[in-house]
Symmetry: C2
């Protein structure tokens, strides 16, 4: 029931995902009067889906502390419980991030050695892709949190980017060791001591997209602002470019000729391809989709869920923590 155009986009996204992966099974938690007619449109999806009816929904402005009270009745809470009971392998929502995180943390609990789960973001870079975490779950982070994010980020990069020994950078306002906040200084010092981690040192805001490291570690406040600044700048330049190309006949003609090129560029930075983030550090798999995405983006988030299941991300993080700490 979460996201800007739920449950339509959710059902359509499931249909798109099923076309790509016929082994999927879906359990929809929410208002059956809304979900049923949508499912009726796709018979193949209908056959591998079941609906768990509830009219209790967590709104976008519900505080996490309030959401916890609706654990047993809300569509979000019930979906999470289903995974905790072992009746589903992953839960996916496009709803209220703070509430989803709080409920997932409460019901799934953190892995041994993890104090707070983190929300990673996949970012296009010059060399390919990078992971940044935390991208918004924890607005304040201790050195210890950042170190745990680094170790979890390593496991996630192995799973999603298929890099055996990913380079991990710590986001700061300068590459010099003397710079930045106290928690960063502490985390820097401790990360350097972990022999099993390919720790690069401090990186700056531009390094996130320049691909200096495969993983960028930061607190959720900075990560969220950085991520949205990147998204905004991509929109800004797209706007400038289409403005400029439309401003003269030379621009229009050049665009017409190079149209397939612009299309491939658009695809390369299509935010839907980067949709779907796992709450890293929990005992089960919970995936957050962007609330404003469409069916293509939602299908991508489902792909992230199946990747996480296949790779056994929770077990791998646990093993990584044991190795490094």
């Amino acid at each position: 029931m979460g996201g800007d155009r739920a449950p339509r986009v959710v059902v359509e996204g499931a249909y798109v995902a099923l076309q790509r992966n016929p082994l999927l099974h879906f359990k929809f938690f929410g208002d059956q009067d809304l979900i049923h007619p949508l499912l009726d449109r796709y018979s193949s999806l209908h056959r591998c889906s079941s609906i768990y009816h509830t009219t209790q929904v967590i709104a976008n402005d519900t505080r996490p502390t309030a959401a916890i009270r609706y654990r047993k009745e809300s569509s979000m809470g019930l979906a999470i419980e289903e995974v905790a009971k072992g009746k589903a392998q992953a839960v996916l929502s496009a709803g209220n991030t703070g509430a989803y995180m709080a409920l997932s943390k409460l019901i799934f609990q953190c892995l041994e050695g993890i104090d707070r789960p983190a929300l990673p973001a996949m970012i296009p870079t010059i060399n390919g892709q990078a992971l940044m975490l935390d991208s918004g779950a924890n607005v304040e982070c201790s050195a210890q949190n950042l170190i745990q994010f680094a170790l979890m980020g390593k496991s996630l990069a192995q799973a999603l980017l298929k890099i055996q020994n990913p380079k991990v950078g710590l986001l700061n306002v300068g590459a010099e060791e003397i710079k930045g906040r106290q928690n960063l200084q502490e985390a820097f010092y401790q990360l350097q001591q972990i022999s099993d981690l390919n720790f690069y040192g401090f990186v700056e805001g531009d390094d996130i997209v320049l691909g200096t490291t495969d993983v960028v570690i930061t607190d959720g406040f900075t990560g969220n602002v950085g991520l949205k600044a990147i998204e905004g700048t991509a929109k800004l330049i797209k706007h400038f470019l289409s403005d400029a190309l439309n401003s003269s006949w030379k621009g229009k003609l050049g665009y017409l000729i190079a149209k397939p090129v612009f299309k491939s560029l658009r695809n390369r930075i299509d935010p839907r391809l980067y949709n779907g983030a796992v709450f890293l550090g929990l005992k089960h798999i919970a995936i957050k989709s962007h609330g404003g995405t469409d069916a293509i983006g939602f299908a991508q988030a489902i792909k992230v869920a199946t990747d996480m299941v296949h790779y056994r991300i929770c077990e791998n993080i646990e093993r990584g923590l044991l190795l490094c700490l």
Copy 2:
């Protein structure tokens, strides 16, 4: 003596600025054996310049606390002193930002009602330009600091953007009032009470470049990461675009035809046009240039200095504070 290619770029930048504004006078502080031969190349510049010799230079890795000890001998310290004594109207450096800020603050002192100076950044947006502050001077900020930044940002936007009643936004991880850190909640509440301020409320990372507000207020850590993420993304997309256009004959031909359009786009986001930031909140004018800029960028920073002198930014901030607080 500060910046990647000093003093050459500094002298060349002064020459470019003089072509545009023949009323300028320059005082160069640094090693005369290096500066003199450079000045000899430009007789018009030579005529309106004097050299103040010193070989003591503040390095890029000097800590601010150490820089303060070189107040009386270093080129940076001596240049700042010259303004404090009333013998120059503004000081400009491309050197070590932390040291420059510390020395300026010590020698100039803060305006009444300002606890910490801020470093603003000018950012291209869909509607024109916006100011973000702090962009790196203060890694930790209290609610009180942020409120002072908001009032100073208003005065600066009046001066640089020529907007009578600029919209001011507070950077956060969500537009909802319940989100973000404690200092942001406090600042939000207090900024709402200031009747003489056009306070918009919370903005997010993408709003910086989308031009939602004319002024964006944040701490120096977040501001610095955000600014560099924007710069990095512009570079990334430029790279993607040139990659894509070079990948096929259609791309190459389209580019050839639309070449003037791409040139005008490049000019629009040329970082040199956004070079030169004033240390806001001091009793005199100190301008920081990017260390990696060239003569065109340095001339732009000189333009910012003359704008600040003409607009009497210090007096205007003082008046604004009296009105609002």
